[in-house]
Symmetry: C2
Subunit: 300 residues, 2 copies
């Protein structure tokens, strides 16, 4: 078992999809990641919330084996995001982003986080991602997620941070934008040339591709009866992926493939309900059953 | 080994993509299908061309073990299509369609085609598809392809023809349009309720999904260095799929999965060059090597 530390956002999300609507529910990249990863291994959470953050949310995180010592409670309000999805559910349309206490976030890691073997740098400012890395003593596996905002506004810093990263994780459109090429194969090679040994490209309903210099792996998405809310799917994927790697402490390409499938399993559960609702009553057996279904779906 | 009969178009294609341009090359759904299937099993071709159709094309088809007795040569010009693709290569934009002799096509099957075990109804008028089926004596496996034009203009006839079909094959956008639902799982179920036991949905660069009442299979597309011309990819898929089923005479769901992968292999070769160029110098060993690569790419 390896220890995971994640840095990212903890937020209030207000979300509307064609299938319903929620107001100010617990969300954020670090939250979705932690909730998914916690089914496999303990997680150290590094993030900031305001003093409006309800105690019941912290209680929930602790109940999921998530260490919240690194969750700073700052004066002010918690980061809040409001957005909606149209029928195709692939693109989040932002209505409002209030950074609030996140604006001045300076991650400071508790002493006991500094020997974490696995670090997940969720989608935040690449400078903050780097400052977290600087506080960890020789991690064995560093995984970075990012998004178009940083690609467009802080590309230099992002490229600097990528030098320290083992696995880069992003959406297909982000990979294309970052590498300035349509071919995902070319994009992955370009990103690898900047540092990461492995590039994982998330394609939403079309599954996931994982590239290394000499190998490549393709996993489909799980075909779902109903998708209510795609928010957090990518972070849930990362949580399942790194959770499984932490549980097994085996970072080989072969084991990373299994981890990609566990990631896809966790993403598939995440979208079945709004916010973290599905994770709240998810059972270990459901995870294993869906993993077996993935084997069944892809075998030939 | 089972015999395959295909009915569809044989055409002159003029194609422009960001990677090049060709004028009046041999194309058409039945041609691409036959060229791919002929690597696995002999094919009976039912189609019509004009008396402008060069003898060298017929010579090429014969050289590939394609029976051309069912290729009618009518007075007039051969069906001609002109179109282009933009950078994403997913959508064909039609500039010109000259039906020519195809306008009055009435498929008449040579006697020796009438005991074919496998029938592929390529993307043509569903009434013609049905008239071909009527001429074949109890086929074991009937596969139908279609497109938005027939869904929009002859839906009643298409639904009638689907009643006689074992496997319906179409693009994701066509399946959504036909079933009037966004979910591909729901669309497949709807289409199955109209007759076919199996629905195969082609998703271009995102691979293929195959649904039956109780099973489902997902295959990725092969990640290619370069894609020059997507024309005929879907028919090449069908050719590899049915060619393999004909070669093995095993129509079980398990063997259909292998056939889907052979279909994906043939589609991946097809798009590497314009028209039928890649098929002209394709080697059996290249097919088997790429099949093995698919196993490598999808295993976990």
């Amino acid at each position: 078992m390896s220890k995971i530390t994640v840095v990212g956002s903890v937020a209030f999300d207000s979300i509307e999809t064609p299938f319903g609507k929620v107001e100010s529910v617990l969300g954020g990249s670090a939250t979705h990641f932690s909730a998914a990863a916690s089914f496999f291994a303990p997680v150290n959470l590094v993030a900031v919330v305001g003093n409006d953050f309800p105690k019941e949310h912290i209680k929930f995180l602790k109940s999921r084996n998530i260490d919240t010592e690194g969750l700073e409670i700052a004066d002010g309000n918690t980061f809040a995001w409001k957005g909606f999805y149209e029928y195709d559910l692939n693109t989040a349309h932002t209505l409002e982003t209030k950074l609030n206490v996140f604006q001045d976030f300076e991650p400071k890691l508790p002493e006991r986080y500094t020997n974490s073997e696995i670090v997940f740098l969720a989608n935040i400012d690449p400078e903050l991602q780097l400052s977290v890395l600087d506080q960890i003593d020789k991690p064995k596996l560093v995984v970075l997620d990012t998004m178009n905002f940083w690609i467009e506004n802080k590309k230099d810093r992002l490229l600097r941070t990528l030098q320290e990263v083992d696995i880069a994780l992003m959406n297909d459109s982000e990979a294309r934008e970052l590498a300035k090429t349509f071919s995902l194969l070319d994009a992955a090679r370009m990103i690898m040339s900047w540092g990461p040994e492995t590039v994982i490209i998330k394609k939403g309903e079309h599954g996931v591709l994982m590239f290394t210099e000499n190998t490549h792996f393709a996993a489909p998405a799980f075909p779902l009866e109903e998708i209510k809310d795609p928010t957090g799917a990518g972070d849930s994927f990362a949580g399942g992926f790194l959770g499984y790697l932490a549980k097994t402490s085996d970072f080989s390409e072969q084991n990373q493939r299994k981890a990609v499938v566990y990631g896809s399993v966790m993403a598939s559960f995440s979208v079945e309900d709004f916010g973290l609702n599905r994770a709240r009553h998810l059972k270990q057996k459901e995870i294993e059953d869906r993993y077996a279904e993935f084997e069944e779906i892809t075998g030939f």
